[in-house]
């Protein structure tokens, strides 16, 4: 499926003379629209017409032709760019339309440990022990920015939206979240609690 980038017929046409280029752009536009019409039709409330993002995607693709290395088909590469733009726009619009109050978040990750009047079962004791340790690990091993990133995700916001609301970027928020998960997991492992033990009480 891979090809040498410079020999790809799409590249030749898109970099050819005006009639050739116009015909290729029109064909590419139709392909992208067909692909996005499928992939955007049932995500994030589908509050956006694929027609609205095709132009932006085309411009991005045409401005990035020098980055196409031929490691996939040209159309797969182009659809990858168009999909990211389309889904990002869908997410942005979806969360813009949701009331800010209902999904506002702060950096606290406080866990209220349930107090039962009855004697707790073994399973409840395990959950209590693990959630207590989770709270300790959160307080001792996470930074405020990591707590903020986790809180946003737990409120149902995608990484991209947490980034937008905190003035950061997607890569940075993902890294905060990833490192926090690894730190918390390592904290559990230090006291002999593995993923299976955690999963056993998280269901």
């Amino acid at each position: 499926m891979t090809s040498v980038a410079g020999e790809d017929p799409w590249l030749e046409r898109l970099q050819g003379d005006v009639p050739q280029r116009n015909a290729a752009v029109a064909e590419l536009r139709e392909l992208i629209l067909r692909g996005l019409s499928q992939s955007m039709s049932h995500r994030y409330g589908s509050g956006l017409n694929p027609e609205d993002v095709v132009q932006e995607a085309l411009i991005k693709i045409l401005n990035s032709l020098d980055k196409f290395e031929g490691r996939s088909r040209f159309t797969t590469w182009a659809m990858t760019i168009a999909t990211r733009i389309g889904i990002s726009e869908l997410r942005r619009k979806h969360f813009q339309d949701v009331s800010l109050d209902s999904i506002s978040f702060d950096d606290s990750l406080r866990i209220e440990l349930a107090v039962s009047k009855d004697s707790p079962s073994g399973e409840q004791l395990d959950r209590r022990k693990i959630t207590q340790l989770l709270q300790e690990l959160i307080e001792t091993s996470l930074t405020d920015r990591q707590k903020l990133a986790i809180r946003g995700l737990l409120e149902g916001l995608p990484v991209e939206e947490v980034a937008r609301r905190t003035g950061s970027n997607r890569n940075a928020v993902y890294k905060l979240f990833h490192d926090a998960r690894i730190r918390l997991r390592a904290g559990f492992e230090r006291v002999g609690i593995g993923p299976d033990d955690i999963n056993g009480v998280s269901a």
């Binding site: 692909g35 996939s72 389309g86 890294k175 690894i182």
Partner: protein, 79 residues
């Protein structure tokens, strides 16, 4: 506001499934087209693309975009 029970469970699930990921979202994106073609043809994932697979397990945003890409590519294949 304290976390709800459901949020605590979700967080514990995220911690349990956390694994080292050497890619960020942009690094994943750069290899996603190639990875999608391997996936669509059911070929074995080459070692060079294993990091993409790991990132997609860890990042819900990228995984959602990957699934959307597969749907779009299948629509193109169906003509």
């Amino acid at each position: 506001m304290p976390l709800t029970n459901e949020q605590v469970s979700n967080l514990l699930g995220m911690v349990a499934s956390g694994e080292p990921d050497r890619l960020d979202c942009n690094g994943c994106f750069e290899q996603l087209a190639e990875f999608a073609e391997v996936h669509l043809t059911s070929r074995e994932i080459p070692a060079a693309l294993r990091a993409v697979e790991t990132h997609l397990r860890q990042c819900a945003c990228c995984n959602d975009e990957f699934n959307a890409l597969l749907e779009g590519l299948r629509a193109l294949q169906e003509g």
